[in-house]
């Protein structure tokens, strides 16, 4: 790993904090997308069942 000098902890915290926040945003976006997709699938199946009755 590269030498980050005497203020390495500030650099590490800036990159670590940014990585954590970005990864959390990616995870939240993916989970929200999948959950919504699954919910929509259930509702569309229920609607199709209602229409065939």
């Amino acid at each position: 790993m590269i030498e980050l000098g005497q203020h390495w902890e500030f650099i590490a915290l800036a990159y670590g904090g940014t990585a954590l926040a970005v990864l959390a945003a990616i995870a939240w976006t993916c989970i929200d997308a999948e959950r919504t997709k699954a919910h929509l699938k259930v509702l569309e199946a229920a609607r199709a069942a209602r229409e065939t009755r």
């Binding site: 790993m1 590269i2 030498e3 980050l4 000098g5 005497q6 203020h7 390495w8 500030f10 650099i11 915290l13 800036a14 990159y15 904090g17 940014t18 926040a21 970005v22 945003a25 990616i26 976006t29 993916c30 929200d32 997308a33 919504t36 997709k37 919910h39 929509l40 509702l43 569309e44 229920a46 609607r47 209602r50």
Partner: protein, 258 residues
């Protein structure tokens, strides 16, 4: 006859772009390539930030914090510009995709503004000797974060999303006055924050070996923003469909009751 044929042909590019149902169709082909491009750009950007960039002659290695701070700050303002354009789309054309774009962008804007403040504070401590100063640039960026949070709260305050979109659009247009304040705060007032060194009329004033990693990281963050915005827009379109199906289900249940 040819005119009749044209009417029944494939929808035009704008219709494909703007119709919620068609948007779900074409945008799904972009998600994976955009994710791939973003990953590659981050790999190159991070390599350049840690191994390709020399230490600055004044700031030393703390200059590496610029490679996350500047892209976050850029996106905090770019996101607002996108919301501003979408707000016009909502108010002038009343287009549902403009509403969707506005709503999908607000939490991303808040995230990148918070990151700009966080990385800026960390950069400020070793460079200026303080995490925070109530100067023009920092204060106006904090105001931008509060505007984003206000917009998110407004979206959540209304059940009727069409009504919410119009109110949020007006609020967004009013809040846009803060963007030139952020941009020019370093020129209008004497501040701790340095003046613009990348986006200048006379070109960047940064050495190429520091500018290259900065541009690579800015591209990586911008691609990530586009990806997240696109996926969030797709989810929002589906959420609206969920809401209308739930209403139809509730109406059907009410009608079936004796």
């Amino acid at each position: 006859m040819s005119e009749v044929k044209q009417t029944h042909s494939e929808p035009g590019w704008f219709t494909r772009l703007a119709h919620p149902g068609l948007f779900l169709g074409w945008s799904r082909h972009i998600v994976i390539p955009l994710a791939g491009l973003s990953t590659i750009a981050f790999a190159i950007g991070l390599y350049l930030a840690f191994w390709g960039s020399p230490a600055d002659y004044q700031m030393g290695d703390t200059v590496r914090m610029m490679y996350v701070h500047v892209p976050a700050a850029w996106l905090s303002q770019f996101c607002y510009a996108l919301m501003f354009a979408s707000a016009i789309g909502t108010l002038v054309w009343r287009h549902p995709m403009a509403d969707v774009s506005q709503k999908a962008a607000a939490p991303l804007g808040a995230l990148f503004t918070a990151l700009a403040l966080f990385t800026g504070a960390l950069w400020g401590r070793p460079t200026w000797g303080t995490y925070w100063e109530w100067d023009g640039r920092m204060t106006s960026t904090l105001v931008l974060l509060l505007i984003y949070l206000g917009i998110i709260a407004l979206w959540r305050a209304f059940d009727d999303q069409l009504k919410a979109a119009r109110i949020v659009a007006v609020f967004t247009l009013i809040g846009a006055v803060n963007i030139p304040i952020i941009k020019f705060s370093v020129d209008w007032w004497h501040t701790l924050h340095q003046p613009a060194s990348v986006f200048r009329l006379d070109g960047p004033t940064i050495a190429p070996e520091i500018l290259t990693p900065l541009l690579a990281m800015t591209l990586a963050f911008s691609l990530l923003f586009m990806l997240l915005h696109l996926v969030r827009m797709r989810t929002e379109v589906r959420k609206r469909r969920v809401r209308s199906l739930e209403l139809a289900q509730a109406r059907a249940a009410k009608g079936a009751r004796p």
